[in-house]
């Protein structure tokens, strides 16, 4: 089985890249032939899309891994999907299985729901079998490190990626169990405590560097009219 893993981020040292590489390695270890490919830059030459179409024509399954920017795909990834949809006829009816992985720093599953829905609409409009999507929250502290070096912040990923790999390797849709187990908060404490701890670190930096966090450099009013 040939699997194309698409790294859906252009950010330098991205967590999406970390997750994509880890997932690709696990799929290869499971005996699959894996091609890892990164979404092109916004201003990439049209030949980049030719490359994507050739890779899609050669694979049996696609796993799109993408970060969540304001509840949705980053613009570069959205643009890739729109471009593929425009040129879908060039795939001559080839329809790889389509899996998706969405991750973000915010812990709640609802923050990934819209993006996973968009990936499903894309699969349906491409005529590709939708195999489901899984979400992971609280990924920001991974900060570009390999998962095994990120300690508790990558624990949820390390715990659940084997289930993701097992479903992909078997060519079956993500099971409800896989989807439910993935998208759980990695923080073992109440949300308000998480917020307090993260903000305490930020405020320490603010004091040390004498920053004005509330600056409104573009004019306007403070929230609440203050």
């Amino acid at each position: 089985m040939n699997v194309l893993v698409i790294d859906g981020s252009r950010r330098a040292k991205s967590n999406t890249g970390v997750i994509s590489r880890d997932l690709a390695a696990r799929l290869a270890a499971a005996g699959l032939t894996v091609d890892l490919w990164r979404v092109p830059k916004w201003d990439a030459a049209p030949t980049e899309l030719d490359v994507a179409l050739a890779k899609l024509a050669a694979c049996d399954a696609v796993v799109l891994v993408a970060p969540v920017y304001l509840d949705e795909l980053p613009a570069v990834t959205q643009r890739l999907l729109e471009s593929l949809h425009e040129r879908r006829a060039e795939l001559n009816g080839h329809a790889p299985l389509f899996y998706s992985v969405a991750h973000s720093g915010f812990p709640e599953p609802i923050q990934r729901r819209a993006e996973l829905a968009s990936m499903r609409f894309f699969a349906e409009q491409m005529g590709w079998p939708w195999q489901g999507g899984v979400g992971f929250g609280g990924t920001s502290p991974i900060d570009g490190r390999p998962l095994e070096e990120a300690g508790m912040f990558s624990r949820q990923l390390r715990k659940c990626l084997p289930s993701v790999v097992a479903d992909v390797a078997a060519g079956r849709p993500f099971s409800p169990d896989t989807m439910a187990r993935c998208d759980k908060s990695p923080f073992p404490v109440p949300l308000r405590l998480v917020v307090w701890v993260v903000n305490a670190g930020t405020r320490k930096t603010v004091r040390t560097e004498s920053l004005e966090l509330e600056d409104r450099v573009y004019g306007g009013q403070a929230p609440g009219g203050g």
């Binding site: 949705e72 966090l213 509330e214």
Partner: protein, 194 residues
């Protein structure tokens, strides 16, 4: 009152112009000064996620392009209209490129809102009106499942940006997509914004 329309409707060559005209007309009829930015023609680079607008240059995006002016126009407006062809239930990429750059509108301090973790607002932001261009009507002329997803997305953006008033409406080439819905939605958002 000012309405800023960030429009990617030009990406739909068949229906985009008529849809934008419908939106602008309805806003003007309700007394708004309408300022429209065709985001597909604007000089806006994709967000690189550099994070400098957080703690390095708080609230200021270091990328010197048309977003600098768009930020100023957003915070000076009473209604922000995000107008786009609906693609996979979402904004089209040209508009999403602008929305991805919204981070400086928020402070790098977290808050719990709606029981969720979000960035704290930096500005009193305008009411939010999403206008989705859909090709075909769904059940009941509502625009179908993708329209429902887009409506959900606009609600999510309002939570993210800490905007109190938000709504979505749909336009399209299909006559079953009643313009009355657009009228009602613009009326509602105008009431709330005032």
């Amino acid at each position: 009152m000012n309405a800023l329309v960030l429009s990617a409707l030009s990406m739909d060559e068949e229906h985009g112009d008529a849809a934008l005209e419908a939106v602008e007309t309805r806003l003007r009829e309700r007394g708004y000064d309408v300022d429209t930015v065709d985001v597909a023609a604007a000089r806006v680079a994709p967000c690189t996620g550099c994070g400098r607008c957080g703690l390095k240059t708080p609230g200021r995006c270091v990328v010197k392009d048309d977003m600098q002016g768009i930020f100023r126009r957003i915070v000076a407006s009473d209604v922000l209209v995000l107008a786009t062809p609906v693609r996979f239930g979402s904004y089209c990429a040209e508009l999403k490129k602008v929305i991805d750059r919204f981070q400086p509108l928020m402070a790098p301090i977290y808050a719990v809102r709606n029981g969720e973790m979000h960035f704290r607002g930096r500005y009193a932001l305008p009411a939010l009106l999403g206008v989705g261009l859909v090709r075909e009507a769904g059940e009941g002329g509502s625009g179908g499942a993708e329209a429902d997803a887009f409506r959900f997305l606009i609600g999510r953006l309002a939570v993210n940006l800490d905007v109190a008033h938000a709504a979505a409406a749909f336009v399209g080439g299909d006559e079953r997509l009643a313009r009355a819905e657009l009228d009602r939605t613009v009326d509602a958002i105008a009431r709330e914004a005032s």
